[in-house]
């Protein structure tokens, strides 16, 4: 019944390589998404009206369409207008641009929770708007955002599973090759599922640890999916 466990022996090396690529995709996508997401959140909270609208539209569009479609537009669509990214670059970019929209929303939530009062307080002691953001609001907002934000790395890790469709050699691609070699799709994908689960658990434990470390005593906001 559990013969599929034997696939770890036969394809262990391939799975390990694929898992490495999957983690790399997650890390880079997350990093791009964080930088862009932070900019988007700041634009939405403190930018001029038109910038707020641009950021809002970006978030709505990237949250309102499937990642797979975004990936195909970037990889197969853009070369038509002369922009051809490599497979990995297209994957990083699609994951990053997509994740930015979600991260922006998490960060916006916590920036709003810090509230206008602190902005006034910061301004009243002589800080400029950007100084207040940089030294007063962000240090608190980033820590406050962590519990809800920590959904994103895990969600992104699972989301990366579509990049094999543009021929990136991630864990899914390795799984597909093993499945094609053995014709046992069920067994191989059960093994692959287990590898994903282990990665998700490890990531979850790491994030819980970070949450504890960075918690601001006495300050909390509701967390959601």
């Amino acid at each position: 019944m559990l013969t599929w466990l034997g696939y770890f022996e036969r394809f262990g090396k391939n799975f390990l390589h694929g898992a490495g690529v999957t983690l790399e995709l997650t890390a880079i996508g997350l990093a791009i998404g964080f930088v862009l997401g932070l900019l988007l959140a700041l634009a939405r909270c403190f930018g001029p009206k038109w910038l707020q609208q641009v950021a809002g539209a970006y978030i709505a569009v990237f949250r309102g369409t499937p990642l797979l479609v975004q990936l195909f537009i970037i990889y197969y669509g853009l070369p038509e207008i002369g922009i051809a990214f490599s497979q990995n670059m297209a994957a990083y970019l699609a994951l990053g641009l997509n994740s930015a929209a979600y991260q922006a929303e998490y960060l916006r939530g916590s920036i709003n929770a810090i509230g206008a009062a602190q902005m006034q307080a910061g301004r009243s002691i002589g800080l400029s708007k950007w100084q207040t953001i940089r030294y007063v609001i962000l240090p608190q907002a980033l820590r406050l955002a962590l519990p809800s934000w920590s959904n994103e790395p895990i969600s992104l890790l699972k989301t990366t599973a579509v990049v094999f469709l543009i021929a990136v050699q991630d864990l899914m691609a390795e799984g597909k090759r093993a499945a094609t070699a053995t014709f046992d799709f069920v067994g191989v994908y059960l093994a692959v599922a287990l590898v994903y689960l282990v990665m998700v658990f490890a990531l979850d434990a790491l994030l819980k640890f970070l949450e504890r470390k960075t918690k601001i005593p006495g300050m909390d906001i509701e967390t959601s999916r």
Partner: protein, 263 residues
């Protein structure tokens, strides 16, 4: 309480338990005749064997051939379009009654499914785009370049077994695509330098895109092409083989070759 636990364990492992329980007492032929319908899988990305015309309808050499076979079996034909590398598993698991998708005989495949008698013979080809400055004199030369192939094809196995496994072609330089038209697109876009595929579809690609050139063709992984049938189902195989033989004798297949390959 223990009951709940068992329930969830069953849910999680239900798939693994189902592995290996595919006993098949009845011939698929009976099922086809009862339902008056044959379910056939293909990956419609391989002109001129199987592809979509302007209006989005399936057409091609294999498509016409299968349509005629179904007609002679006296049943309706239902197409399922799915990724090429899932077709064999889909026939094996009973998703499909059979599959026609320019399948070459392959030992690994033969372990899980059966093959009909051959209905045509093919070759492999390497194709490059106009910016290619390298040279491919013998097949092994492609190991020096970025190569693309459709995942799960005999060409994929050939590249893996003869170039990747011996260490000639770095794994990172071989891109395996879900569809061959995606690989062709990437060749045109310069993301890969050489595409390995069946010679006939490659000629169609070259005709469509003047930037592409065939640099080599010959029998490496290919050879006779067959219809993929469920394993050990002799009744179905006999029937399909009989019809293929009939169509060969009548010259139907030669006419198809003229129509699609202009041979």
């Amino acid at each position: 309480m223990k009951k709940y636990f068992l329930l969830v364990v069953a849910l999680v492992l239900v798939a693994s338990m189902l592995v290996g329980c595919s006993s098949e007492p009845k011939s698929v032929l009976d099922k086809i005749n009862e339902a008056k319908k044959v379910v056939v899988g293909t990956s419609a990305d391989y002109p001129p064997y199987e592809f979509l015309d302007e209006a989005g309808n399936k057409t091609g050499f294999d498509i016409d051939l299968m349509t005629e076979i179904a007609k002679r079996m006296g049943v309706e034909l239902e197409w399922v379009d799915m990724p090429f590398d899932s077709l064999v598993a889909a026939v094996d698991s009973g998703k499909l009654d059979m599959s026609i998708s320019c399948f070459n005989y392959d030992e690994e495949r033969d372990k899980t499914v059966d093959f009909s008698t051959a209905y045509y013979t093919t070759e492999d080809a390497f194709v490059v785009n106009s910016t290619f400055t390298g040279s491919v004199v013998k097949p092994e030369d492609v190991a020096n370049y970025k190569v693309g192939v459709q995942s799960g094809t005999v060409q994929d196995s050939w590249l893996t077994d003869n170039l990747v496994t011996p260490g000639l072609l770095p794994e990172a330089n071989l891109s395996r695509y879900e569809r061959v038209d995606q690989a062709a697109l990437d060749l045109a876009n310069g993301r890969i330098e050489v595409l390995m595929a069946d010679y006939v579809p490659v000629q169609a690609l070259v005709a469509q895109n003047p930037d592409l050139t065939v640099v080599y063709h010959g029998e490496l992984s290919t050879g006779p092409i067959n219809i993929v049938l469920p394993d050990g189902d002799t009744a179905l195989k006999t029937e399909v083989d009989r019809i293929i033989k009939e169509l060969q004798d009548e010259g139907f297949i030669d006419q198809l070759a003229v129509k699609y390959f202009s041979e």
